[in-house]
Assembly symmetry: D2
């Protein structure tokens, strides 16, 4: 049975999205009320009230939520399915299970472990997977299992299969915290849960290898990072969060990279937190972040 | 009759706040639905779901809104008054009427006039009032009436009375865009509409005269501005918006002031826009900004 | 004779750059001292002390500067030319002459005119050139000549020739404040002074037409702007300044564009100010900004 | 003998400050040249070229620096002492020795230890001192000595004496990384090295206990942090660095505190790095940060 936390006990998070039409907000609100729920937070957005898309996130409290969940879910199916609306209902006292994949850079990994230890990320972390071993000691000092899955050689399929086997059924989402291997579409299909990636970003964009060297050569005045969901289009998935820091001509490429690491860890942490709190709704290649 | 704009035609903005209890969201949503409204945007916040305060802003579209408004208002009174909830309903195609009061500094004034001319502020500007004359020519170039009300001498009551008479019944809110006279509690009572003020802000705070000189002496690394509603406690009213810009040791007090002017005009403009769009709910000495 | 301002009277700005070697700082400092100058501000940067490039900006005061300039210039030539160093010496009381080219969007233009009127830009503005007429009245209200040079049809050479003729000998640099015509390499050669351009920037970059629509489709969380010198590679010249503002899913493409306009005008103004103050040194496709 | 690092080998950092007069830059540059030094970076600032204060930081390379230091110091004394200028010369390959004092909050402490481990702080850390024990295990995992000095009871003089004894001769500066005991003027005298403190900062300032609760009650839209040198005036010493993060009405006091922790650790880290790199010159109650 999934672990429950005392925080957020008896609170549910309901996500609804689909084609907009009059009355959805009222139907959802009536449903919550007739199921003895009390709205704590409600965010709603319509891309266009006439023929656009509807997005809603509601957190509501409901005494005895665990017992009532099946009834509420049945009511949701009966009420929303006929309207063509997708929905999900989660018990906020059940933290999501998050795996982290990492290569050699530890800055994003340690930031996540640290925030988790401080109680700021509503997740459990059943495992860290790396194609290197340098972070193993740190990870285990946090009391978290570390699995080494080497990814040498041109054929990554064996490594991907082993990673997929480790993740299978054990995690709700995966964070690529500077995991420097390209993942195949087959792997993404096999894993079947959302993956969140972080990568450096510049104005203008520098594509390909050695981006910090190129940014230095171009003399950028800002360095940035983008956290996004992973899709089969590399680095092109829906953006969750972005941020930048200022740079000057006096920064070496190494300085840009070091400074960029602080932006990366902050941006990735926010994206992970929002995902873990069910604040992010994917919609085509965009996200709605409530 | 008030001017209507084509933008936001048939859109209403409903603000509801008061003691939280289960079912408010459902009651409001049902009300909108039974009055043929369709929710465009909904923001809701509870300071504490058990015994806290409830705040909601709903924008909804409703064909033929102008004709239907009295019926909707009657329904709101019947539905929400018994629950002890305060509410307001505005037709979004009717811009608010905004007066600006200013002394000699023109940066905030011109920013507001400019944004208004670009169609970015949903307001009309029936008048500018100043205790000086240096901005008259600029103001009239924008086609806006300018009234000069001198405020010399220790007794400001005559000037305040004349300003109150100019404003009376003609405006929905007043912006103090660097108006450097202290306003009496009697004046605030007489005016009877919200006033928004902008003032410089520093970490730490420097109280009294010559704040930029004091900030220079202390070597601050940030300069800021705060926009707030005016209350009888000078500069202590509910904060609407704040922002900062970086400073260095190389800035003179004049440089700090010049740089601060850009923060002030940006912060005040955002506060004015949010107020004009009914996004700000006052609650004690705080604001909820949706 | 060029106009002089009281501000910065008897202050000179010296820029030195070229291959680094030991002793340049000492040679320049000794030169200033023996010419009765007193250093006010000195910034120096070496890309690499061994075999890299040297950049220096010195502001120094010197009583009777106007009379002494030729002697100082002769000393500079004698001292620095043998070291293979490029240098420029400017009298800071002589403002640079800046032309602005603009199409229909007025936000960058008005910001510059406004800052200029407030005395914050050390420039004179002998002319505004536009391929449209909508900003003419505003420009002339600032007391500045406005020249309309239409640029219709596929052949822009006639328009470019007329613009080049207007600029010839009359300006020290040109600002493209949302001038939406592509300028030919021949035009850039004919003008012979630096041009500064502003354009929107996103993470990731969106190339080609309708960038705000593309940014909306991708759901960007930041919108940015980049000011750069114009080179024959369109939008690829040395970056002077960049900045961003946050965006959310609730922003329409029009909202992104309106918000982006505020970033553009701030970024362009800073770039213009720094150029006008001789703070920017071009070096290949980079800038050093002191 | 002090540990030397390979980074910055043969680089010296010279700080000069005092009353401005013509020729200082030239005298310093000539001195460096005649001692076979080559300027890497030079920053200079005058509060007022006529009768103001002069500040300069020069990094220069000099083969065989360790051997040459005494001669250079003698030359500096002979050259600059007669001009009434204070100066310091440091070998950049010798890291400063930094002690950290901490109470129960670990966020600033861990950020510093982490940056140090990543090689981003040019310091050694001979000891951590705490009046609590909860961080001992983390500290020792980094291989750093942890000393527990309880500070219970009204009389802190015994604890302060023990801390002073531990620090005596062993450190070059002390960081108060959320050390929640007030330090006596006697202690500051006894320690005799600079202390850097971090504290929360708000617009407006909230003085005394429970600042985050007060900030919540006031509805602030920004939360900030200030790093400063410790003087006998509590929290009023020269500011080194400041920054802010945005907050909304939806933040609880606990949320404000958690978010504030991230600002605190970033601001303190930058202040520590700049101090360790000799970039900060104290001048009265201000700092010059190069």
């Amino acid at each position: 049975m999934a672990p429950h936390t005392d925080a957020n006990r008896d609170e549910a998070c309901l996500i609804v999205h689909g084609p907009d039409r009059p009355g959805i907000v009222a139907a959802v609100a009536a449903l919550i009320t007739r199921n003895q729920g009390n709205v704590v937070t409600l965010d709603q957005y319509s891309s266009d009230p006439s023929g656009g898309d509807f997005f809603q996130r509601v957190v509501f409290s409901r005494p005895g939520l665990t017992v009532a969940l099946p009834d509420i879910q049945a009511d949701l199916a009966e009420t929303l399915d006929p309207l063509g609306l997708a929905w999900s209902l989660t018990d906020r006292s059940v933290p999501k299970r998050m795996a982290i994949m990492v290569s050699t850079s530890d800055h994003c990994l340690l930031e996540l472990l640290w925030r988790h230890r401080r109680g700021e990320l509503p997740v459990t972390i059943p495992m860290i997977i790396s194609n290197h071993t340098n972070t193993a000691e740190d990870v285990r000092a946090f009391g978290i299992p570390f699995f080494h899955v080497p990814a040498t050689g041109p054929d990554k399929s064996k490594a991907e299969a082993e990673i997929a086997r480790l993740l299978d059924g054990n995690v709700d989402f995966v964070v690529l915290a500077r995991y420097m291997q390209i993942l195949s579409p087959d792997f993404l299909d096999a894993v079947g849960v959302p993956l969140i990636n972080i990568h450096h970003s510049f104005l203008p964009a520098f594509i390909g290898a050695a981006p910090y060297r190129k940014a230095k050569e171009r003399g950028v005045k800002l360095i940035g990072a983008t956290a996004h969901y992973v899709t089969k289009d590399l680095d092109e998935g829906p953006i969750i969060e972005q941020d930048v820091a200022r740079a000057t001509h006096a920064y070496s490429a190494a300085d840009l990279q070091a400074r960029g690491a602080y932006v990366e860890r902050a941006v990735l942490s926010r994206a992970v937190q929002w995902h873990a709190e069910d604040r992010v709704i994917r919609h085509g290649n965009q996200t709605i972040v409530f």
